[in-house]
Symmetry: C2
Subunit: 329 residues, 2 copies
């Protein structure tokens, strides 16, 4: 089985690659080749015995998508995107990468299929940014997509294209809307959502973190481990059971910042919690107030997607996956 | 005031042009210039005293959109599209005309605004085809768009783009989802929805019509007169009251074929009804079974959009507007 990952150098792309290598296969079939593409060259997939193609390419350059498909991968993970803040700041770049890039990929698959039958599985990571406030108490599976960012608009368009190309039989696609990934590994970044991870990850390593909002802020989370689980399940499940509505909100955990901190206290003690410094930031408070707080995802759950059910579980997954099982500090 | 109509040669485009000329103005301002564009040259707007530009152009040809905007129209009606059946049969053409054409237009407006401030009103006709079965009993304002045709996909994407361009301040846009237009003037056509109009229009002129479905089929209708009313209102209303969710399902009338026929009986008598010949068509029965039957449109109604409330009213509008007030036969 040949797997193509577009966006392979990102956090999710690297974790997915590692998981595929650790599993040795996908859906019971051995992985014999990996094509890893990103705007920067993805790292060499350590421990993989099969054929590896790595390349630094921009999917929004015409012709690149066809090139990525040259060896007709069986499964395509399309994770590549520029993030919300950048798509908002640079309108042209956001549409070029997130919309044109995605459309070029879908169209290149269709064109390859016109030459010789070809209907790969396509897994596209969408986002809860396809929804825009005001929201119901919990966003259900049939709530409309009225994004309030260009990024969310581009993801919603990607979902529509994916469903239409799948309906026409050009490929077999599924779009999964990831919750905010928490705890994001790495170092604190400037993303408005960064603090949800920072206030757990940094104290778990004995470092200070800044909390810019109040403890009653509620948001929607899943661990990196759960996100990779969604991707693997999306790549292997029977899509006939999904029907023509190919965009799904993934399950997750709705929790307040206060609940996050309580879970940190339980797992790592008061010493860790004491490292959280409260510094209200009006800009972040305003941005976050427009974000989804809770979802109701019966479809994805019935289809077998599984997320964490407590923040302790999310923290323990981070300690196992990122800290070698030990709380630092 | 300068008005641009793209898709000006179609049924709605011609009726809109006539209405603007009859009204003499739009939103209290005199119409001084009309630019009429379509893939075939739109007819000369009889009775109009102002400047007229007519041209046969394909909006999906790069550069054409900018050309249409050369004189910076104040209001732009974007009605152009290839219809559902053709977009389904010719995938490339559907995306080229309905998606690329629309995006070129929106982008040309943005580019014009980068040269010199320019934020015209843009009215985009969308369709109830953005929705796909299964439906709730009545489709509400917050129901998700999961089209089951490429046409519906292209319209849903147009809505998303329009909302994002409007949110960014590149223009002031509104997308209105028209019900099925009934009674469509002209001659019977092959569109699967044609019979909804045929079974009224033809008997009103003393001609036979074929009914391919059973009388309990329910659908969502508005007259051409109501549709033009929606367009005028969309072009003149205060969009600040609409907020960022710029795509609206228009009000309409949910009626069964049996109710249509009862209204025909009331207005034109048993003689007219006797001209309807029942010829069940399994293909049309299947297509129509996937169509929306009813909507609940509180947002559009609160914003002042008005449709008919009975099929008698729809039939009488047709007799006044198309038959000079007289039932033929």
């Amino acid at each position: 089985m040949h797997i193509l990952i577009i966006g392979a150098a990102g956090m999710i792309g690297r974790k997915l690659t590692s998981r595929l290598i650790a599993d040795g296969g996908l859906g019971g079939k051995p992985v014999t080749a990996l094509t890893l593409v990103d705007v920067v060259e993805p790292p060499f997939p350590a421990g993989f015995q099969g054929t590896v193609n790595r390349s630094a390419e921009d999917l929004s350059t015409p012709g690149i998508a066809a090139q990525c498909l040259a060896d007709r991968p069986d499964v395509i993970f399309h994770l590549a995107a520029i993030v919300s803040g950048e798509a908002e700041a640079d309108f042209d770049k956001g549409y070029r990468i997130n919309l044109d890039g995605t459309r070029y990929l879908f169209e290149a698959i269709r064109q390859a299929g016109l030459v010789q039958p070809y209907t790969p599985r396509v897994v596209f990571t969408s986002s809860i940014a396809v929804f825009g406030a005001p929201f119901p108490e919990a966003i259900g599976d049939e709530f409309f997509t009225t994004p309030l960012t260009s990024y969310g608009t581009q993801k919603a368009i990607g979902e529509l294209l994916l469903s239409d190309y799948s309906r026409k039989g050009f490929f077999d696609g599924i779009a999964i809307r990831l919750p905010t990934i928490c705890i994001r590994p790495g170092t604190p970044n400037k993303a408005a959502s960064g603090f949800f991870s920072n206030i757990l990850r940094e104290p778990l390593s004995g470092k200070e973190a800044v909390l810019p909002v109040s403890e009653d802020v509620r948001h929607w989370h899943a661990s990196p481990r759960a996100a990779i689980g969604f991707l693997i399940h999306a790549a292997t499940m029977d899509l006939a059971t999904v029907g023509p509505r190919r965009a799904l909100s993934m399950p997750g955990l709705s929790a307040t910042v206060g609940e996050q901190i309580a879970a940190l206290r339980k797992v790592a003690g008061e010493k860790a919690v004491a490292l959280i410094r409260r510094e209200p930031d009006p800009t972040i408070i305003k941005i976050v107030s427009g974000w989804a707080r809770n979802f109701d995802t019966p479809r994805a759950k019935a289809l077998g997607f599984v997320a964490e059910s407590s923040f302790e579980e999310i923290i323990r997954a981070h300690i196992e996956d990122e800290l070698g099982g030990k709380i630092g500090g």
